[in-house]
Structure formats: structure tokens, C-alpha cells
């Protein structure tokens, strides 16, 4: 499941943002500092899960600027939240298509929250993949819904 999620994440990032992620190996570190933006989409169904992304604010700003074709100085927190929610929404939709999931699995409305570095440590889920994206850290996670 994580492999399919990784594939759709790469597709969304490349197509929508011109960003080309690289998978980080265990122990590899990419320096990052908070605040962090965490966004997720719940997929309700026989086995409910939540799929999400966590990125530092600097990467969220870069993604929003790429997406909208504007300068980073024109991007504020609401745009970053909107962009990351839209990204997780696209990932979840593409994931359901790739899995050929039945309509018993329904996409819920995406959500987002800001985390401090301390809160991020507490919320690190066990099921996650880490990427380096444009010299920044990105985490993809799956949780039980």
C-alpha cells in the first residue's frame, strides 16, 4: 500500500508542482525547522484510513508558489493550507483509483493543522515515508482512521 501511495505522491508532486522527490533511507536526515503543516484526508469505508503529508512551512510556501505561478512573498498561511489539502486530496483520489477500490470507500473533506517542532515530534506516526523535496523534508503518512 505504501508503494502505491508513494507512486501517486510522486505523480502529483511532479505534475502539479514540478517537484521531484527522492526517498530518504533510514537514518538519512534533512535539516528542517518548524512550524510544520500537516494535512490529511480520511478515507471512510470497511477499513478507514487517513492519508497525509507533513512539510515545513518553507516547503509549503514553495509548493503554493509553484502551483499558483506566483512569487513566494505573495503566499500566506491560508494559501499553504489550501494547497496542501488539495495535494492530499489528489493523492487520496489517485490512490483509490490505483487500488481499484469499491465505492464503499469514500473520500472525506481534507483537513490541515499547523504544528510546532515539539508537536511534530509527538505526532510522528509509525507508518510513514520520508522524502527529500527540493532540499526540504516531506513526510507521507498513513494512519488508521
Amino acid at each position: 500500500m505504501l508503494a502505491k501511495l508513494k507512486a501517486v505522491t510522486f505523480e502529483v508532486l511532479e505534475t502539479m508542482y514540478y517537484l521531484f522527490p527522492e526517498t530518504l533511507e533510514e537514518g538519512e536526515v534533512v535539516p528542517s525547522k518548524g512550524p510544520y503543516l500537516r494535512s490529511w484526508v480520511a478515507i471512510a469505508g470497511p477499513q478507514s484510513i487517513r492519508i497525509g503529508l507533513l512539510v515545513p512551512q518553507s516547503l509549503a510556501r514553495k509548493m503554493a508558489a509553484n502551483f499558483l505561478g506566483t512569487g513566494e512573498e505573495e503566499i500566506y498561511q491560508p494559501e499553504m493550507e489550501d494547497i496542501l489539502k488539495e495535494t492530499t486530496n489528489m493523492m487520496a483520489g489517485a490512490f483509490l483509483s490505483k487500488m481499484e477500490a469499491s465505492t464503499a470507500f469514500k473520500l472525506q473533506t481534507p483537513e490541515a493543522q499547523w504544528l510546532t517542532a515539539e508537536e511534530k515530534k509527538k505526532k510522528t506516526p509509525p507508518n510513514r515515508l520520508r522524502f527529500e523535496v527540493d532540499d526540504e523534508l516531506m513526510e507521507l503518512f498513513v494512519e488508521k482512521g
Binding site: E11, V12, E14, T15, M16, Y18, A64, F67, L68, G69, E79, D82, I83, K85, E86, N89, M90, A92, G93, A94, L96, S97, E100, A101, S102, T103, L107, T109
Partner: protein, 139 residues
């Protein structure tokens, strides 16, 4: 001929992106209208004429399905082409919309040329001469 377009999506950012993609796709756009859900879209249609509706499916309030059902019941609106722009591509989700009379759908993430091809098929000759310059853009 310029076409009036109505974009229906709960994400203001996605509406802005679709609008931008339409511009670089080379379509001759007259006026843009935007709604955050089906209810807002119907409100706009009460006062404005649109040639094509680009709509998301999942939206708070009136969703895409209810919007299409309302359009098809209305004598003036039932023939306005609707194209879904959605994260969904599962046939079980899309087919009911096609059965309702939706013209086509575009899955996110998408490229400008995908939108251009779909709208050309629906609206006909609407491409400006320099549209080919954007062929390789991704979105």
C-alpha cells in the same frame, strides 16, 4: 468566439489554478464566474449566461451530483455542458455522472493540454493561434 466559464470548486486555490490553466490553454474566454459549491453555482446561473461549467464532485453544501441533477431539471440550464474536474476516476463514481448527462471528466492532477482537448471536443473551435506554445506545460 469567447466563451463564458463557470468554475465550481470549494478550494479557492484550485479555482484560481483552473482559471490560469484555461488562459494558458489558449481558450478564448469571455467571462469567468466562480462558485464554492453547487448552490453558489445555481445562484450565478440565475443572473449570468455561461457556456460551460467545470465542476468538482466533493464539495460542502450542494455537491457536484446535486448540482448536475438541478441543472438537468431546469429548462434553460439542462444543455449547458458540464465537465467534472475531480480527484476521482473510479468508474463507479464517474459513470453515474455520465448517465446524468455530464459531458466528460478530467482527473486531477491534470495538464493544460488535457483541459484544452476536452473543451475543444465540447465547445468546438475556440483555440487562439498561439495555444500550441503551451503544449508542454504540466499542471
Amino acid at each position: 468566439m469567447a466563451y463564458n466559464v463557470l468554475i465550481v470548486d470549494d478550494s479557492a486555490t484550485m479555482r484560481a489554478l483552473i482559471r490560469k490553466v484555461l488562459v494558458i490553454s489558449g481558450f478564448d474566454i469571455g467571462e469567468y464566474f466562480e462558485g464554492a459549491n453547487g448552490q453558489e453555482a445555481l445562484g450565478i446561473l440565475e443572473h449570468e449566461w455561461v457556456d460551460v461549467i467545470l465542476s468538482d464532485i466533493h464539495m460542502p453544501g450542494m455537491d457536484g451530483e446535486a448540482l448536475v441533477q438541478n441543472l438537468k431539471k431546469h429548462e434553460m440550464w439542462r444543455n449547458i455542458p458540464v465537465v467534472l474536474i475531480t480527484t476521482e476516476s473510479r468508474p463507479e463514481v464517474i459513470n453515474p455522472f455520465l448517465n446524468l448527462g455530464v459531458q466528460d471528466y478530467i482527473q486531477k492532477p491534470f495538464r493544460p493540454e488535457t483541459i484544452r482537448k476536452k473543451l475543444t471536443g465540447i465547445l468546438g473551435e475556440a483555440i487562439t493561434p498561439d495555444a500550441s506554445e503551451t503544449e508542454s506545460c504540466d499542471f
